[in-house]
């Protein structure tokens, strides 16, 4: 994976805001689905969540005060959608989604054991990690998405990696 955060579409450029959002969709779709899959453990539900996110964004775009924050705004919508989906599943199944059981072995998506490991991370650490890795977002955008400072993002990422390393070490011992 490319370690350098990808640049999004030029959302500050003049033009139809819907086209800008379309460019964001095309450019970020795969990453958003990957992020949502990590959150939901289900690629199909993840794609639905991403599409629902852009439907919502298109519908509410007129209310967006700062066009420069379009990407962060869209990611925050996606986080809300995945959160609602997890909540919906919990209501209907009575338990959180079982990340270790959701994907078939042939899927390019899943390593069940690693899912269980990552699930042990605190929620915020996991979210920041997912946004950074799957979303390929720079710390500044992650901070904007989550409404926290850039420094907090960096510290959270650091703690997340430390925690993950510790868990993996415990696992191998």
């Amino acid at each position: 994976m490319d370690e350098t955060p990808a640049r999004g579409p030029d959302i500050a450029a003049p033009g139809d805001p819907h086209d800008v959002l379309g460019a964001l969709y095309r450019d970020r779709y795969a990453r958003m689905v990957r992020f949502a899959t990590a959150r939901l453990g289900d690629a199909e539900a993840a794609e639905d969540a991403v599409n629902d996110t852009f439907v919502t964004a298109l519908r509410r775009m007129d209310g967006l005060r700062d066009p420069g924050s379009l990407e962060a705004w869209t990611w925050s919508i996606l986080i809300n959608h995945t959160r609602m989906e997890r909540r919906r599943r919990r209501w209907f199944s009575g338990s959180p989604p079982d990340l270790s059981q959701v994907e078939a072995p042939a899927s390019p998506i899943v390593d069940r054991e690693l899912r269980e490991v990552v699930r042990r991370l605190p929620t915020r650490q996991r979210t920041v990690l997912f946004l950074r890795f799957y979303g390929d977002l720079p710390n500044t955008t992650i901070a904007e998405v989550l409404g926290i400072s850039t420094g907090t993002v960096g510290a959270t990422l650091h703690r997340a990696q430390e925690t993950l390393r510790r868990i993996l070490k415990e696992r191998t011992e």
Binding site: G22, A30, I109, D111, H158, A160
Partner: protein
Amino acid sequence: MPSPSSSGELDPLTTRTLDRMVRDHPWTGDWRRVRERADRSRRVHRGMPLLISAVAGAFLVILVIVLSVRTDTRTAADHRWSDPVNGISIDVEAPFQRASLALAPASHEILSLSTGPLLIGSPTDRLPTDALAAIGDRGVFITLHELEPPEDLVSTGEATHDIGYQQRPASFILSKRTESDSTVVPGYGPLGPRVPGTRRWVIPFTDHGRRLIAIVVAGADVAQTGLDQASRLLDSLQVSPRPVGDPIPRELRNGTSPGRARYIGTTDGRRAYVGIAKDGSMCILIQSLSLSCSGREIASKDGVVAIDRSAAGEWFGVIVPPSTGNVTVNDAVVGDGPQPILFSGVKSDPLLIRQNNITLAHIPSPPSTPVSAP
């Protein structure tokens, strides 16, 4: 030492772990479908206020329809009856029916409602005993009488006084507590004994200066809800000041309202009934051998008996001349002249009266001038 994450870079272990958890995949979306969904969603959301308005409007329309149906039902089942001649109006709800003529013709009855058969009683009764007996255990009979001094009181030889007449109550409460066993109404005389198996409420009151007597008779098994309905009907009674400009001639002005017959006294001392049928025609049954209705003489042949119905076919009368002896029906004595008789059991057709062997005896010669309607 600065954290490697401060620059946004992840360590190889984390990267490898996350990459194995959800591997990179060439997912491609369909922007056109997203746009279409958004357009549909926007249309729905844009139409939401309209939809809400439409639903609210439909709800209101349904509400109005339901209410109007209820009103229509009430109108169909019930009826507000107005009597401009007597200056009263009242709701008539099923199962009550209004008598179109006085059931106790010798009384001062101006209104009768009953859940049972509307049978005309004997003229010697203040209350129509036949109709009261016919209500059964679960029926209710309501009647309204009015004291009309001085003429009526003079004709009945009773004193005029207002003792016992209170201002109209706020509500005519009919309960065990308010039940009345009174058989005498001040200024009105005896009502007669209660029909066995019935309860009775006698409520004299004044309204717009008029002295009225509401009498309710209920069968022994009538529930409180039945009494409440009777109470509600009485509460719906509206009384106006006594109407002026009565179309009935002065000597007959104590007469009747549309569709009703009323016992009156004439200035020359003869007894008579006068009625205005629903079609507006005036019918007079007068204590002589002649009878006219809407100006048409309907006295029977040979001056034996005068029997007819009003133009609307609602009532008939039998006039018994002063010198008449016993009146018999099927050989039973039912009256002794001079008494005007109304037969309730054979009221549908004069022919029935003849077929039921009604005979009058000792008929004198008819007067030279028959009385005709004005």
